[in-house]
């Protein structure tokens, strides 16, 4: 059973992904497919709301690594919000906070897309 799900919302030109459950080498392909189709649809301003995310392994972080360059070179970004401490700790151990916009909440991310 796949204990992971993604829901997509739109706020103006920004796409918000609500991810929940456990993101590991088994479930990472689901996130990868969604990010791929957003890029195909030319949606480059992406917020990933992690409020429902209970767990992440490096395979999950690898998905964010694989697409960030493409999205940024096309004038967009992938911003991450609402992480719990355990999930944030994994991003932090691998040095993500210096290279990714990891924000407290969705509103902050939407504002930073406006600027």
């Amino acid at each position: 059973m796949k204990n992971f799900s993604i829901a997509t919302r739109q706020k103006d030109h920004v796409t918000i992904l609500d991810i929940s459950g456990e993101l590991d080498a088994h479930t990472a392909s689901q996130l990868e497919n969604v990010l791929k189709s957003l890029i195909d649809e030319e949606s480059y301003s992406i917020i990933v709301n992690c409020s429902g995310l209970d767990y992440i392994a490096s395979a999950g972080l690898g998905v964010f690594m694989a697409y960030i360059e493409d999205v940024r070179s096309l004038g967009g970004d992938i911003k991450l919000t609402n992480m719990n401490d355990r999930v944030y700790n994994v991003f932090d151990l691998l040095g993500f906070p210096t290279l990714y916009d990891i924000l407290e909440d969705e509103r902050e991310a939407l504002t930073s897309f406006e600027n």
Binding site: M1, N3, A25, S58, G62, M65, E69, V90, L93, L99
Partner: protein, 140 residues
């Protein structure tokens, strides 16, 4: 049960579909011996990364192969051992991941070994005949 030695084993096919089961197996042991939520989270992630590396690199995603997992603890330490019969991993060829460089080169692997070393107190790789073992220890 402080002071007594407890050991549990699990044999699973090398497939990412068993990842949650493997994480839960080690977490249950860690919970039983009363470790903190932080330690339990770290042990779950370390075993996930070690098992994922075996699936992807030792067995190259061949799900018929088996991985034998043992978790044990005494009053000082918790140890987890994962044994496979696939391609061996040479830790001397491993270097710390440079995140910026990996993003530029669109490489996404190689972070698991680094995480395991950060999360556990000791990590050993042993090769005996055709068998590989990664043994990870957490001081408790």
């Amino acid at each position: 049960m402080a002071g007594s030695k407890q050991i549990q084993t699990l044999s699973v096919e090398a497939s990412t579909k068993h990842l949650a089961e493997v994480r839960d197996f080690v977490a249950a042991h860690a919970e039983n011996i009363g470790l903190s939520q932080k330690d339990i989270s770290e042990i779950r992630l370390a075993v996930d990364e070690a098992y994922t590396n075996i699936i992807k690199h030792a067995y190259k995603n061949s799900p018929k192969e088996k991985v034998n997992i043992e978790i044990g603890s005494d009053s000082d330490q918790l140890w987890i051992s994962l044994v496979d019969k696939g391609k061996s991993f040479d830790p001397s060829t491993y270097s710390e991941p440079d995140l910026m460089k990996r993003i530029k080169e669109k490489k996404r692997g190689g972070m698991g070994v680094y995480l395991i070393r950060k999360l556990m107190d000791q990590v050993q790789y042993n090769r005996r005949g055709q068998t590989n073992e990664i043994r990870m220890v957490k001081n408790i």
